[in-house]
């Protein structure tokens, strides 16, 4: 048992080892350093030329508007009349707003549904599908699980509004199995609206996670599995001791994408509950939308958008840092 546990761990370390050696050019001998550097620099300049076609629209349509948003966050502006400069007042207002604190909590809770659950589901699905690779029906299962990712979120929202309705499929199913007492209008319940919306997210994102992990498992050397099997490891042991640790890069990618989706969630919630009932599913994205386009609070909305961007950036940075460290 112990050997089975230790042996698969070794390749994991071996794969992490090449990391430092890849930074070779930085450790070039001192006499060859200058020419290497200048050549390196020229190559980089040429490389950036290739980036231009992508960089230009990105700058025009993403970077500049983002900077403009940051600029607008310093004003009290209703979207129409002349604005007045208020400095950091909008940020102070955000810190004082209880509705905003609620929104932050909800976004945090959504991480559970948009990240943690889909990653768990995706991982298990990937393990099962990869073990069944080549057998009949596997392709179909993979397609079905990935399908929600392809459907526009607005359509997903409308679909699930029917599922969660008082006479929707979910309640019909509950009544069919004699659990009619549990039936509820899920999106209108103060207790259940947030988990209900969250589970839609789980449904959407799980397929993406599965595909990510599937491609990851294909990267793993089959010999490792064979070695483990020879040591008597079953499917569960293989999964826990080989698949999971070796999928670290895929974990980072999945976590980054899903955490961004959770924190910046808007469309799903806008379509299904609009932030209600009361304020029980309000998230920062909804507040930004309400303030900027409904309430004439473009400045505060911009400040909120800046804060949200900062939070998401920090979260992604932390995820990437953690994933890069050796186990």
């Amino acid at each position: 048992m112990t050997t089975a546990h230790r042996r698969p761990a070794d390749p994991a370390r071996a794969s992490a080892a090449p990391g430092p050696t890849k930074r070779g050019p930085d450790r070039a001998p001192s006499d060859g350093r200058r020419t290497a550097r200048s050549g390196h620099r020229r190559r980089r300049a040429v490389a950036s030329l290739y980036l231009l076609p992508a960089l230009l629209p990105y700058t025009l349509f993403a970077v500049l508007p983002a900077l403009h948003t940051a600029y607008l966050s310093l004003f009290d502006w209703d979207g129409v009349t002349l604005p007045s400069f208020v400095g950091l007042d909008n940020y102070r207002r955000i810190a004082d707003d209880p509705q905003l604190r609620a929104a932050a909590w909800h976004a945090g809770a959504l991480i559970l549904f948009f990240s943690v659950l889909p990653i768990c589901v995706g991982l298990v699905a990937a393990a099962i599908v990869s073990r069944r690779a080549g057998r009949r029906g596997t392709g179909l299962v993979r397609t079905v699980l990935f399908l929600p990712q392809v459907v526009p979120l607005v359509a997903v929202g409308i679909l699930w509004r029917w599922v969660y309705a008082e006479d929707g499929i979910l309640n019909q199913a509950l009544r069919a199995v004699g659990l009619g007492g549990l039936a509820d209008a899920w999106l209108g319940s103060f207790t259940w609206a947030l988990p209900a919306v969250g589970l839609i997210g789980t449904w959407v994102v799980s397929g993406l996670c599965m595909v990510l992990f599937l491609s990851g498992t294909q990267r793993i050397d089959q010999e490792i599995y064979e070695a483990a099997r020879m040591d008597g490891a079953g499917p569960v042991r293989e999964f826990v001791s080989i698949t999971v640790p070796l999928l670290r890069p895929e974990f980072a990618v999945a976590l980054s994408i899903t955490v961004i989706a959770a924190l910046s969630s808007f469309d799903l919630i806008y379509i299904t509950t609009g932030g209600g009932p009361g304020n029980s599913t309000v998230v920062p994205g909804i507040l930004i939308y309400r303030l900027a386009f409904g309430g004439g609070g473009v400045g505060v909305a911009s400040a909120l958008a800046v804060v949200l961007t900062a939070v998401i950036s920090v979260a992604v940075l932390v995820i990437n840092r953690l994933s890069r460290e050796a186990p």
Partner: protein, 445 residues
């Protein structure tokens, strides 16, 4: 795995981004918001002559009935030199995008005016049409012009300059399922609110949903608004809805209205789990034969009539005491003119056209009440009943503004949230009204 970027490139990148950002921000004086608003928001002397040259009028609206396209087509027939381009946007999106639409250089000549657009007034994006009004004599042609008269800061309605006209008018009342109501013993419209509530109780005892409603998107505002119309004095109602300084909704009569609505929900008269049902789904369910009563506006008449056919009935919301005047909630489809329009005279001609007899036929067919009520062709069935109800509302001068329309630009969202809290048992009627008042005071500081 890709190698991490060297410190050099990262530094260069950061420096470049920083420099770029600084340059962009210094250029921002041009991006300073609001700088594009025009000064030309009022006109000199005007005439009622319709220009004879070839003109294209762009019209932005959110009217999902046949009224606006019908009026535009009829207007075009009368003035073949004027072509019309309609920009239709769904209701919610229209409200959220109208500020940008009207600020753009390519702003439409005519736009449907509605709540939440008050900011356009201080932004000088709407043309003051008072001079045209005088020239055309709109005061005698359009009822309820005060709903589109605003102070220069746009915060108070009913005084100040005229910014448009109300073409088709809408109002709210009670639809009912004739077959089911007959079983409950309903022979004529209830004379008082109490009688209506007694009918609700009977319906419930018969195992029916008495009042079909959906509050996922705040649809309970319809019964709440008409209850307010019944209980609140018109003076208090208008002061609040029109944004008068110092007005309040924390009043005993408003509390009675909120308590009545809450009682209807608590006694099980209203669609169960009402917070989880959307307003449109409620109309659809009612039209399919679910429930006995539904409080909604004349815009729902077409759908109800199509679904229930002969069994569709309508009566006005009864007053609190028998024989009292009928009071209900309603608004108009208002048309205003952009201050950027180069075709203001042609646009004004369209506004005037909306008051005429030819327009009345189009408006009535779309289920709205025409400004020229006498010119509306009489119709049968449910739409005929609704039209008859409208005559009473006009006679009693009972049309009152929606509370969420003019009071503040955010009141729509606030009312939805607060109504969900109220009927979800999370807010008392007192707290509910206080919540509305807080929004009001944040805006009318």
């Amino acid at each position: 795995m890709s190698p991490s970027p060297s410190s050099l490139s990262r530094r260069t990148f950061l420096a470049a981004t920083g420099a770029f950002g600084a340059a962009a921000l210094t250029a921002c004086s041009d991006l300073t918001p609001g700088a594009s608003s025009s000064d030309k928001s009022s006109t000199g002397p005007v005439s009622t002559a319709v220009p004879a040259d070839k003109i294209t009028l762009v019209v932005a609206d959110a009217d999902d009935t046949t009224m606006t396209p019908g009026l535009l087509a009829a207007f075009r027939e009368q003035h073949p030199n004027i072509s019309v381009k309609r920009q239709y946007t769904g209701w919610d999106d229209y409200l959220k995008s109208i500020n940008t639409t009207m600020s753009a250089d390519s702003a439409p000549d005519i736009a449907q005016f509605t709540s939440g657009m008050q900011n356009l007034v201080p932004g000088r994006l709407l043309l003051k049409v008072g001079e045209y009004g005088k020239a055309y004599g709109w005061a005698g042609k359009f009822p309820g012009l005060d709903q589109i008269t605003l102070t220069p800061d746009g915060k108070t309605v009913g005084t100040g300059d005229l910014y448009g006209v109300g073409a088709g008018l809408s109002f709210e009342g009670v639809y009912y399922n004739k077959a089911k109501a007959k079983k409950l013993g309903l022979t004529g419209p209830p004379a008082t609110l109490e009688e209506l509530e007694a009918l609700f109780a009977k319906a419930k005892n018969a195992g029916e949903t008495a009042l079909v409603a959906g509050n996922l998107d705040g649809g309970l505002n319809h019964p709440f608004n008409v209850l307010l119309s019944a209980y609140l004095t018109p003076k208090d109602r208008e002061a609040w809805a029109y944004g008068h300084k110092g007005a309040t909704i924390v009043l005993p009569e408003a509390k009675t209205a909120a308590e009545t609505l809450l009682r209807w929900v608590d006694k099980g008269y209203v669609t169960p789990k009402v917070n989880g049902v959307s307003d449109n789904d409620a109309t659809a369910a009612f039209a399919k034969g679910e429930g006995v009563f539904r409080i909604s506006g004349n815009w729902a008449a077409a759908a109800v009539s199509k679904g229930l056919g002969e069994q569709a009935g309508y009566f006005n919301m009864p007053p609190v005491t028998a024989g009292g005047k009928v009071r209900t909630t309603g608004a108009g489809v208002y048309y205003c003119v952009s201050s950027k329009s180069r075709n203001a005279a042609a646009a004004a001609a369209f506004l005037d056209f909306a008051a005429g007899a030819q327009a009345a036929a189009v408006t009535a067919k779309a289920g709205f009440m025409a400004p020229d009520a006498g010119a509306m062709p009489s119709q049968s069935g449910l739409i005929g009943d609704v039209q008859q109800g409208w005559q009473t509302v006009v006679t009693d001068a009972g049309l009152q503004p929606f509370i969420q329309n003019s009071s503040t630009p955010t009141m729509g969202d606030t009312l939805t949230t607060q109504l969900q809290l109220l009927v979800g048992g999370k807010a008392t009627p007192e707290k509910f009204l206080a919540g509305l008042q807080t929004d009001y005071e944040n805006y009318h500081k």
